[in-house]
């Protein structure tokens, strides 16, 4: 098995052991059944929350664990490496970042301690819209100021985990795009209390190829107090960008976890399955794709480590975080295919879990950002080639 690549001191190993231990109480049959019934892993998320793992990025003064991103990434990596799927709850870990970094002290005091205690779930982030896609500056959801409040109208798509969240972050236009000199200005970020939204918010589930609660969210005349605005009006996009690096790094860790699971599962099967009187893993056609995937996953793990290290040291890490997400999502997919091939027909049988993990890990190449856009960022921002977007 690929050991974690961050194991140089204390807390990493301890976190790894503790998460492995916790996850061992939720075997693959647990995830398989949820997948079949498309249910939310309520019991798992509760266990993770109660044990304090989902709040380790919240500073200690608000009751969280106050640990680094490198350490938080181990939690998500191990969940996926155990055969589970962290996508059900990773939002709880990082969606609070804009409040922490750009919210008022009043907002932090109001929300972070309860989030840290696990009494309040903030794990929905409504950004994507149908008509704008990856071009976020073209979103149409609008927030119009009226006295002390904003009136919000619009339509979001692929808003994950809304049905299992108390709060939702929402990106909306407060000034029309054409009235701004920069397209990225005029967007604002709000904390929406879903418990008080009543029928101003309509949630329509979107069925996907995996067990991932995601939705279309229709917002009609939602009145929200201006105290729910994060930071300054019009600066929302920069706050979102600010959280991207952490999100990319954490997702890269999940991909590395998936990659480890596929490699271990594939290697195990290749060693024990005998056809033509020998283990199939003796055939280089079976062994080498797994070995190659293992190398890719390990390399992606190092990229993620480097990005997380820069992030924790407070250095810019946009290129590294994006490259980590790109490489890790591709490595996981490479490992997924090698593992599926190794399993022959059984790879498609639900009871082997391979097909489930295969479906789950495919997402990382598309969301929360399509890999093409990562490449466009590297090509333009890092390498200086002409802009495509």
């Amino acid at each position: 098995m690929i050991s974690s690549d961050l194991n140089d001191d204390g807390m990493y190993m301890e976190i790894q052991t503790a998460i492995r231990d916790l996850c061992s109480r939720f075997p693959s049959s647990y995830w398989r059944e949820l997948d079949e019934s498309r249910m939310y892993p309520e019991r798992f998320v509760e266990a993770l929350t109660d044990a304090g793992w989902l709040s380790i990025l919240i500073p200690e003064r608000y009751g969280g664990g106050g640990r680094s991103l490198s350490e938080a990434s181990i939690v998500l990596e191990e969940i996926n490496a155990s055969g589970g799927n962290a996508a059900a709850c990773h939002g709880q870990m990082y969606t609070m970042a804009p409040i922490l970094r750009h919210g008022s002290e009043e907002q932090r005091e109001r929300y972070l301690p309860e989030i840290a205690k696990g009494q309040l779930r903030l794990q929905a982030f409504a950004m994507t819209e149908q008509d704008s896609g990856s071009d976020i500056t073209r979103i149409r959801t609008s927030a119009v100021r009226e006295g002390d409040s904003y009136i919000i109208n619009g339509q979001k798509v692929f808003t994950s985990r809304v049905q299992h969240s108390d709060l939702m972050l929402l990106l909306a236009r407060t000034t029309k795009r054409e009235n701004q000199s920069r397209s990225t200005d005029g967007l604002s970020l709000f904390i929406i209390d879903l418990r008080q939204a009543g029928d101003t918010i309509e949630v329509n589930p979107i069925k996907t190829m995996f067990n991932h609660e995601t939705n279309e969210v229709l917002i009609r005349n939602l009145k929200t107090n201006s105290s729910q605005l994060i930071g300054e009006e019009g600066k929302g996009f920069s706050y979102v960008l600010d959280g991207f690096n952490a999100e990319r790094i954490l997702l890269a860790a999940e991909c590395v976890g998936d990659g480890r699971w596929f490699c271990a599962k594939g290697a195990e099967y290749a060693t024990h399955r005998e056809v033509f009187d020998r283990p199939i893993g003796r055939n280089q056609g079976v062994q080498f794709p797994l070995a190659r995937a293992y190398a890719s996953v390990t390399a992606a793990g190092l990229m993620r480590r480097s990005a997380a290290g820069l992030f924790d040291a407070g250095h810019p890490c946009g290129p590294e975080a994006n490259m980590a997400k790109l490489l890790a999502s591709e490595a996981a997919w490479q490992a997924a295919n090698a593992c599926l091939d190794t399993h022959g027909g059984y790879g498609f049988a639900a009871e082997y879990d391979v097909e489930r993990k295969f479906r789950e890990t495919r997402l990382y190449q598309t969301a929360p950002i399509a890999n093409n856009l990562v490449l466009a960022y590297i090509g333009h921002h890092v390498m200086g080639m002409p802009r495509s977007y």
Partner: protein, 264 residues
């Protein structure tokens, strides 16, 4: 009530075992707290918690972990502390390398006595590496207290007595024992809790006393190895098992087989 739980650091049983001559290689391999000891720690914590909330004797008292092993065994102690135990004692000494079960029992009993008055000592039935199963009984002998083996359920505990169910081949015994005593618990006696983030952080601040052999007033002679492994051979491959063709009587035959095996 003061409870002592014996914990052992062993090579990770999920990895292939490596040998060092005729003994198990212990250094430089990935180690873990013996999974069997997690049940002991959980049992200790549960008794302490039950007493703290029940109306019997107050919950005063501590759960102390005692371990003998190389410096790396600190990991097992920390693990137990992060589950919730109060403090630890780790006996490490180069002289103890390769100790047999008798020497281990001697050392653990000395460490337990040095730690102070105790009401209950809990150990696993057998370790997941050596499997001698002799330690708990030997330890009780050295401590001069009764021993109840293979405890599958702890029914009640108060200051003076402990009531337990003890697994037997065909059922269980209900045993009441006066304290202090040693019990060995089976895997499955409870569901061990996992360490929480707060538990891990708190464990960093809990005291662990590190002792050498001389701290226990023991000499090399006291712990000289008396047991020798003379030969090692691979376990026989399991045979294919018996296949019962169903001619209408298969169910009865299977039931007979299970009865013979004392499964039903």
């Amino acid at each position: 009530m003061n409870i002592v739980v014996c914990v052992k650091h062993i090579p990770d049983p999920n990895l292939p075992a490596e040998m060092d001559g005729k003994t198990l290689k212990r250094e430089g391999v990935q180690g873990v707290m013996d999974p069997g000891d997690e049940f002991g720690v959980e049992a200790g914590l549960q008794i302490k918690e039950r007493l703290a909330t029940g109306d019997g004797e107050s919950g005063e008292g501590e759960v102390t972990l005692v371990s003998m092993g190389p410096a790396a065994a600190m990991e097992a102690v920390r693990r137990g502390l992060s589950m919730g135990a109060d403090k630890g004692v780790l006996v490490s000494d180069d002289v103890l390398k390769g100790s047999d079960a008798l020497a281990t029992a001697k050392v653990l009993s000395a460490a337990i006595q040095k730690n102070g008055a105790f009401d209950l000592v809990i150990a696993g039935v057998e370790s997941t590496d050596g499997y001698t199963g002799t330690l708990p009984g030997t330890l009780a002998e050295f401590l001069g207290v009764p021993h109840v083996s293979t405890v599958k359920e702890i029914v009640s505990a108060d200051g003076g007595t402990l009531k337990v169910n003890r697994q037997t081949a065909d059922g269980y015994h209900v045993v009441e024992v006066g304290l202090p005593a040693v019990i060995s618990v089976t895997a499955g006696v409870n569901e061990p809790r996992y360490a929480s983030f707060k538990g891990i952080m708190a464990a960093k601040k809990k005291p662990v006393e590190q002792l050498s052999l001389s701290d226990l007033d023991l000499s090399g002679d006291d712990v000289a190895v008396k047991q020798e492994v003379t030969e090692l051979s691979k376990a026989e491959e399991r045979e294919g098992g018996e296949i019962i063709e169903d001619d209408g009587s298969a169910a009865a035959k299977i039931a007979d087989f299970l009865k013979e095996a004392k499964v039903i």
